[in-house]
Amino acid sequence: MAPLLRLQLHQRAPQRWRLRITQRFGSLGWGGRGGASSEREGRRRKDKKGRGAGAYGGRRGTRRAGGCRMMRFMLLFSRQGKLRLQKWYLATSDKERKKMVRELMQVVLARKPKMCSFLEWRDLKVVYKRYASLYFCCAIEGQDNELITLELIHRYVELLDKYFGSVCELDIIFNFEKAYFILDEFLMGGDVQDTSKKSVLKAIEQADLLQEEDESPRSVLEEMGLA
């Protein structure tokens, strides 16, 4: 019974440990479809869209405003190409957003598992990482530090995990506004606001407490699945 929708959090390369996932979705027929099936599926997709590869952006190109903004946008999408969360830190028109999301998803989904987590895409650097079935994807500027952005994604996943208690994709689908709140507490206008896990969660819980008080008698702990 291998839960598929688990965001695997790699701690250190050798001793990768998994955060326990709640059993609520365990009985849903996820069993038996472990890594193998996802591999297979990944390959099929690859065959269909083999063209997608090779689309990595150039360095030259139009540079939009700003200069030292840390991040341009962050996207979360599933392996099936469904957008789960999007946060834009630079004014972008609706049409342009849709186009960028579509293109980028195609490029990222076409990447093989062992490939580099960094991409040159248009005039941007894209840093992505896959956790279970979810891709986390950040666009930064060329001169930024890719590796620390990768860690930034990881820290965000850790925060989600701590908050939801073994987070899975469904948590994010059904509570995406919470995911946004956490992101806003962590990154402000595209810059790291607070790297201390404790204080981010404290801020979120503070706000949530209010919610509990006036919505239902449940406690925060219950809400977080820890009770």
Partner: protein, 952 residues
């Protein structure tokens, strides 16, 4: 959507029911997200995109009805908002909900407010007009005593906030810098950072407070302030050198683990903070030995401490290496940094390898030996299965290219190029290859072939400079002429071969390059070939895949080759084909070719061989027509007047002339008659008989002096003109009655050209056609007895002389008159005097001043002289638009802005005295308020204003 997820999602309701009975945590989820959950499940149950669209459209319709219904509670609204966000994320338009999101943020309780703010930040971008409606809410929340509300307001401010409303919240946020809670201080600092990004001058005054934030006892606040410092130091590092010591101390403490454990990330102390500090140090130490020395220690320690084998330590190491190579070099540190780069490059982890290559690329120019050390790794990376690694390797190679290794490197680049399909990559790589090829090409053949590859692949997406530079290189060549010819010959041959290949399509740009080269240099092939080349070009022309722009290039090439060819069957066919073309441009080219073809000698002289770099002399003044014009004039034809002159004459029947100084040539203080050409367009129209003469004099006008600006000779002798005895066509003040005696006149044209800046500017011209022997012009100004006298050189018979003067207004006046005379002497020694006089008014010197509202505001405050007056208007004008129109047209004011019933206008008194007008229409009262830097100008303008308002 994969069937796995689909199944799961359809099974969810069952699960929720199940869990509800047991009351597990799932139940909470179910009740909370039921509506959204229903939507999500509904969507996933569908099989086609079309059905999804239908469902969401329906959902959106429901939502639309709900959010606009008055009975909807805020709680429901909050729930609706979540669903709207979801729909919008799926790519559907939910713009009807934007306003409700703002309302929710405004009215809701904390929770609803939070969702409202979130929705606003996701829906709107920072330039969205609705955002203005949020400003009040933000201000209110910033003043709230509830911490959560303040936090939310600060968060939204740092995400999206209209730039022009910053002043409304700035003081409130500044106050927050002293707040007792660190989270508030931190957010305030970040909000200010955001302001600094979008409107740096608005936060300049709080720099001192940033320093305080840097010294804050809370690490989070200090870290937040580093964002601002990084930005400011990036812009101007020298202003912050004094802070180097503080940054070094902070970094030391961080590296030494003095921070609270909270900030550790995988047992590395505050990595983000470290990276930020390293970047700042790198910028501060760049090229500055003394500052750099301060940081050597801490850099060394950072390199040493980062030993843990974890991504985040590598991230810090990478930044540290970057800094070590940015600051003033210290060999010991460089050595260590080089070792670190080695660690990256040799790492089996692909991400680290990538960063290693990136670091190498950065340092390679300073230390090329590093590349040698890692050459084997680099070679391996060149064939790496991941294209990103390959690409970064090529970037590295690009930096170390020289004349010896160019062929290999370009070869690798071309290989990569052939595999990639993405435009950004192609544009980028093609540019690099072209650049390298131009710099280091080992021989002609290689160069041409490489460029052929560049053009075939880069095609129509590459930067237009590439083909242009290439052609210029071919045309201008190097010092060695035979070398040049060989290069050109090789290009021609290679293109002919390429064109022989069947069924290959080249990009349009490449074809254009080919056609130019063939047109210019096909002669190098020898006598026999022009026909062959023409045939090939013709074949291309008839092909369907050629754009009409390229066709024009092709026809041009054919045109160049035609004079060299012996028989011209094909050319004739081409002419036939294209003189009926629907494309007017092509048709024109074809007609040109046709007419040229009829006169081969002429064509040869027009299209000389190998002269592409030489300028052709063209008589743009059409002076060859002068004879004809003079002839016509002597027969009594009316002289030519250019369009604008004719128009002005129509306009200013009253005023004889209106002299205006140059818009820009203010160096000379005075001006008298400005004489300007009858025809600027036709520089040679003879006979300035269209004369208007005039100089001016004023009562109150202070003509400080009349100074000659320039004169120009511009007339060519009349053909067949005879008569040794010179008569003169005296400059006539008014109009052209001079023609009577033109017969024996040497028509002289006095032509002065206005420095062409002034098409719109109304110009008055003086065209004195006469034989001047001398010109004495004197301005008799009532106050000024200053005489301006200038002697002009003796003018030859049958020549023209131009004189030009400018008048400038020193002090404002209402009306004035400028008069003077010209005396000249004929060869037969009797002297003649011509008098002239011109009326001038203030308005002749007023021009619109085009400024922005912002500038207006600044100027307004800076002027001390102001005049206010209320005018009563008649019924008919008592409306803003008509007033505005009058002011704009009659007084030549520039309308800067209109706000409600108020208007802002600006003008300037030439040369540079600005005057601003603020007016308000209130019933039938027009309140005028002038301000200017000149003390008297407002009064005069007010007078003019009154006059026009009465008059209209």
């Amino acid at each position: 959507m994969s069937d796995i997820v689909e199944k799961t999602l359809t099974a969810l309701p069952g699960l929720f029911l199940q869990n509800q009975s047991t009351g597990g945590p799932g139940a909470a989820k179910a009740s909370f997200s039921s509506r959204l959950g229903g939507l999500v499940r509904g969507i996933t149950a569908l099989t086609s995109k079309h059905e999804e669209e239908k469902l969401i459209q329906q959902e959106l319709n429901n939502l639309k009805a709900t959010v606009s219904a008055p009975t909807t509670t805020l709680k429901m609204m909050k729930e609706c908002m979540v669903r709207l966000i979801y729909c919008e994320m799926l790519g559907y338009d939910a713009s009807f909900g934007y306003i409700h999101a703002i309302k929710l943020a405004q009215q809701g309780n904390l929770l609803e407010k939070r969702v409202g703010y979130l929705a606003v930040s996701l829906f709107l971008h920072e330039n969205h007009e609705l955002l203005l409606l949020l400003v009040n809410t933000v201000v209110k929340d910033l003043q709230s005593t509830n911490l959560v509300e303040v936090c939310m307001a600060l968060t939204i401010v740092s995400q999206i906030f209209p730039r022009e409303m910053i002043p409304a919240v700035l003081p409130l946020i500044e106050d927050k810098l002293q707040h007792s809670k660190e989270i508030i201080r931190r957010k305030a600092v970040l909000a200010l950072y955001k302001f600094h990004l979008i409107a740096p001058n608005q936060v300049q005054h709080i720099h001192i407070k940033f320093r305080k934030a840097l010294c804050d006892r809370d690490v989070g606040v200090m870290a937040a302030s580093l964002h601002i410092y990084l930005k400011m130091i990036k812009e101007n590092s020298s202003a912050y050198k004094d802070l180097t010591g503080s940054f070094v101390t902070i970094l030391k403490q961080v590296v030494g683990g003095k921070l609270p454990v909270d900030f550790n990330y995988h047992s590395v102390p505050a990595p983000w903070l470290q990276i930020q500090l390293l970047r700042i140090l790198g910028l501060l130490g760049k090229g500055d030995q003394r500052t750099s020395e301060l940081m050597y220690d801490v850099l060394d320690e950072s390199l040493r401490r980062a030993e843990l084998n974890h991504n985040v330590t590598y991230a810090i190491l990478f930044e540290c290496v970057h800094t070590v190579y940015s600051v003033y070099p210290k060999s010991e540190l460089l050595e260590k940094a080089a070792k670190c780069i080695g660690k990256f490059v040799l790492s089996p982890k692909i991400n680290l390898k990538y960063l290693g290559l990136k670091a190498l690329t950065y340092v390679i120019q300073q230390d090329p030996t590093l590349a040698l050390q890692h050459q084997m790794t680099i070679i391996e990376c060149l064939d790496h299965p991941d294209p990103i690694i390959k690409r970064e390797t090529l970037e590295l190679l690009y930096r170390i290219t020289n004349a010896q290794n160019i062929t290999v490197i370009v070869q690798k680049m071309l290989e990569y190029l052939h595999q990639s399909k993405e435009e950004y990559i192609i544009v980028n790589l093609v540019g690099k290859i072209a650049e390298l090829a131009e710099k280091y090409a080992p021989d002609n053949a290689w160069f041409i072939q490489t460029m052929n590859a560049v053009f075939s692949v880069g095609g129509d997406v590459m930067h237009p400079d590439i083909p242009n530079n290439f052609l210029r290189l071919l045309a201008e060549g190097f010092d060695d002429e035979t070398e040049n010819q060989q290069l050109r010959l090789y290009a021609v041959q290679s293109y002919l071969t390429l064109l022989d290949v069947e069924n290959v399509f080249y990009p349009q740009r490449f074809l254009q390059v080919m056609s130019w080269v063939l047109g210019e240099y096909a002669y190098l092939l020898g006598k026999e070939t022009p026909e062959e080349v023409i045939t090939k070009l013709y074949r291309l022309l008839m092909s369907d895949s050629i754009s009409s722009e390229t066709k024009a290039w092709l026809i041009a090439a054919v045109t160049k080759l035609t004079p060299q060819a012996h028989s011209s069957n094909i050319v004739e066919r081409l002419i036939q084909e294209f003189t009926t073309s629907l494309d007017t441009c092509l048709r024109q080219h074809a007609f040109e070719l046709k007419h040229l073809n009829e006169n081969v000698e002429f064509m040869k002289s027009l299209l000389p061989v190998d002269k592409s770099c030489e300028d052709m002399v063209v008589d743009s003044s059409l002076s060859f027509l002068d004879g004809f014009v003079a002839e016509e004039l002597s027969q009594g034809a009316a002289p030519y007047k250019p369009h604008h002159q004719r128009q002005e004459e129509k306009l200013s029947q009253e005023k004889v002339l209106n002299f205006e100084p140059y818009g820009l040539s203010f160096s000379s203080s005075g001006f008298t008659g400005r004489q300007s050409p009858a025809g600027i367009s036709l520089g040679s129209d003879v006979s300035g008989n269209s004369t208007e003469t005039g100089l001016k004099e004023t009562n109150s006008l202070k003509l400080e002096g009349i100074k000659k600006l320039w004169g120009k000779e511009g007339y060519l002798p009349k053909k067949g003109s005879k008569t040794g005895d010179e008569t003169e066509a005296p400059p006539v003040p008014q109009e052209t009655m001079i023609m009577e005696n033109v017969d024996q006149t040497m028509t002289k044209k006095d032509q002065s050209q206005v420095p062409t800046q002034s098409k719109e500017e109304k110009e008055k011209q003086l065209l004195a056609s006469s034989l001047f022997v001398g010109l004495g012009s004197e301005s008799t100004v009532n106050l000024i007895t200053e005489q301006l006298e200038c002697c002009l050189p003796v003018i030859e018979a049958e020549s023209t002389q131009n004189f030009q003067y400018s008048v400038q207004m020193e002090k404002p006046f209402t009306e004035g008159n400028l008069s003077g005379f010209i005396s000249y002497q004929m060869m037969d020694t009797h002297s003649v005097q011509l008098e002239f006089s011109v009326n001038l008014s203030l308005l002749d010197f007023i021009r619109p001043l085009k400024i922005s509202t912002e500038d207006f505001g600044k100027l307004w405050l800076s002027f001390a002289n102001d005049v206010k007056q209320n005018l009563k208007m008649s019924e008919s004008q008592a409306a803003l638009p008509s007033t505005l129109k009058t002011l704009q047209q009659e007084l030549r004011l520039h309308v800067v802005d209109i706000i409600g019933n108020e208007g802002l206008l600006a003008c300037q008194l030439l040369p540079t005295i600005p005057c601003l007008l603020h007016f308000r229409v209130h019933g039938d009262i027009l309140a005028l308020w002038f301000r200017s830097s000149c003390s008297t100008l407002p009064d005069y303008l007010l007078y003019q204003c009154q006059k026009v308002m009465e008059g209209s």
